[in-house]
Amino acid sequence: MSSARSKMQDEVVTILDNRKINEKYFKLTFASKKLSRGVVPGQFLQLQIQPTFDPLLRRPFSYYRIKGERVEVLYEILGRGTGILSQKGKGSRVRILGPLGNPFSKPKAKKTTVLVAGGIGLPPLVFFAEKNKVDYLLIGGKSKAEVLPKSELSKVSGKVLYATNDGSYGKKGFVTVLLDELIHQQEDPRNLFVQTCGPKVMMQAVIDLARKYEIPGEASIDETMGCGVGACLGCMVETDKGLVPSCVEGPVFAFDSIRQSLV
């Protein structure tokens, strides 16, 4: 915990690129030696939207991709903060604190690694599938509008499968339909290792399935964050270690350590 803290840096960076990559997502790129060093998939950063403190609190975003010193963040416009962020052009400066939090654990030998992403839970899992050898990346979204351009997934290891709520791309239904099918293809589902990030409802469905078939795994829990460093006690998660701040003890938690319903 404190070792992660001692590595965190707060830096003003210059935006190199900030563009829409499909109907739904924006990609922000900046370069920083300090904010890219030693970053592993699952970690996040806290971005101050405006130097004027309005909006006031920083917004947490996952690291999407690191290429040398270049950092990419994939985001969706959800409210005022992300709306303002989307308007910032090349050359704008923003203050960022990172890297924060604990990452997803590395793939386990003799386990089939399955990544289950929903909506904007995708970035850390794409990062993970580029850095590690994984078997499946299951992606769920509302419609085709969310589907990433092929170029964004070209370096991803493993088989990529889509499910959309309206059936406009890939399988019709929730991403858990894909996971359920995969489970039923297994001789022993317990050989799977599931790592998930996405809306809480989706992750709860994944955890329920995993519990039913005794599949181990990890979820990146998205709690509203104030500080990102364990000071405000705003982002608590009930675990086997008690009520802990997800920004420093998580955001990634093992399924069997989670002692609360996410919904």
Binding site: S6, L56, L57, E223, G226, C227, V229, A231
Partner: protein, 329 residues
């Protein structure tokens, strides 16, 4: 012109004399006025990578209660215009854990530690003060939280009874000679009147202000945005309110005041010092800018130097209202 100056003077110009930033509560002297508001700086070393704790004037802890408290359900925080609502609910690991695990950490830091305490039951304050007084080497003052908006017992609702507040301060006073500061919020009622009561009961100073109760609505679900329904509003949104109370209280009582309420920058801090604040506590600012305390400290010094002020006492409480001029003449 510069070329003609004697060498000695040139040297002095390069290293200007430090601004005297000291302030005090009773006999306790602080090297500078910059501190942190209770509950916003973690419980131990959360900000060590961004803040040199020894440069702070003081460290104020999150509220400690006798028994551990789990606090309120999630979501506990949300952003509002220029502020945030929080309903943490005084989550803390209790007195025993504090003494065992936190005091030894602060024993190694040469900055006065002010411990913020709250009681849930009748004799809690007595237990807390006795236990903390025994650690006088580390605990240099007590801040009595009379004003948390998010808890039932010991919170703002229970404190609305004047006799209760008076009794608490008298109890604390009876158990310690450490400086004691009462933390108030407008939620308690008339701040000026209550300030008078706590001072008469034996408080050495005041901490102004704790958060104001607020509400935020998710218009899609038509539900509150935090699980506790209401929460304490903090951040720049409450700064003018805090400033007004510090000003009015200082006008009425010449006692030390720790100011908190939306202080983010050195300019904000100067406003409070000008109306009379002794210490400046940064709260929500730490979440927004983890180096806020250090930036404010440097900023105050720079401001004073640029204004030719060599001691903060020269500017503290110098606020004055110009004579009124009629528009109709």
């Amino acid at each position: 012109m510069t070329m003609n100056r004697p060498k000695q003077k040139n040297k002095e110009a390069k290293t200007p004399a430090a601004v005297d930033m000291t302030c005090r509560i009773k006999d306790l002297v602080f090297k500078n006025p910059v501190t942190v508001a209770s509950g916003t700086f973690g419980t131990k070393d959360e900000y060590t990578s961004c803040v040199d704790y020894e440069k702070l004037g003081a460290v104020i802890t999150k509220t400690i209660t006798v028994k551990p408290r789990r606090g309120n359900p999630m979501p506990r925080i949300c952003e509002t215009p220029s502020g945030m609502l929080n309903a943490i609910g005084l989550q803390n690991k209790g007195l025993e854990d504090f003494i065992e695990n936190k005091i030894p950490y602060f024993a190694g830091i040469k900055t006065p530690l002010i411990v913020n305490i709250a009681g849930e039951e009748e004799n809690d304050f007595e237990i807390l003060v006795k236990a903390l007084h025994a650690h006088k080497k580390v605990v240099k003052a007590l801040e009595i939280n009379l004003s948390c908006p998010n808890v039932e017992a010991g919170g703002v609702s229970g404190m609305k009874k004047k006799e209760k507040i008076e009794k608490i301060i008298k109890t604390v006073r009876g158990e310690t000679d450490l400086p004691i500061v009462a933390k108030l919020s407008p939620e308690l009622g008339d701040v000026i009147e209550i300030a008078g009561e706590v001072l008469r009961a034996g408080a050495d100073g005041l901490s102004l202000i704790n958060t104001l109760k607020g509400l935020a609505v998710n218009i899609r679900t038509r539900q509150p945005r935090i699980a506790n329904v209401t929460g304490g509003l903090s951040g720049p949104a409450i700064r003018p309110v805090a400033l007004r109370y510090v000003y009015e209280v200082k006008k009425n009582y010449q006692v030390p005041v720790i100011a908190s309420g939306g202080i983010l920058t050195a300019d904000d801090a100067m406003e409070f010092i000008i109306v009379g604040a002794d210490l400046i506590a940064l709260g929500t600012a730490n979440f927004v800018n983890p180096t806020a305390t250090m930036d404010v400290l440097r900023g105050i010094e720079t401001f004073c130097r640029n204004q030719g002020i060599m001691s903060l006492s020269q500017i503290r409480g110098t606020f004055h209202v110009p004579p009124r001029q009629s528009c109709w003449q």
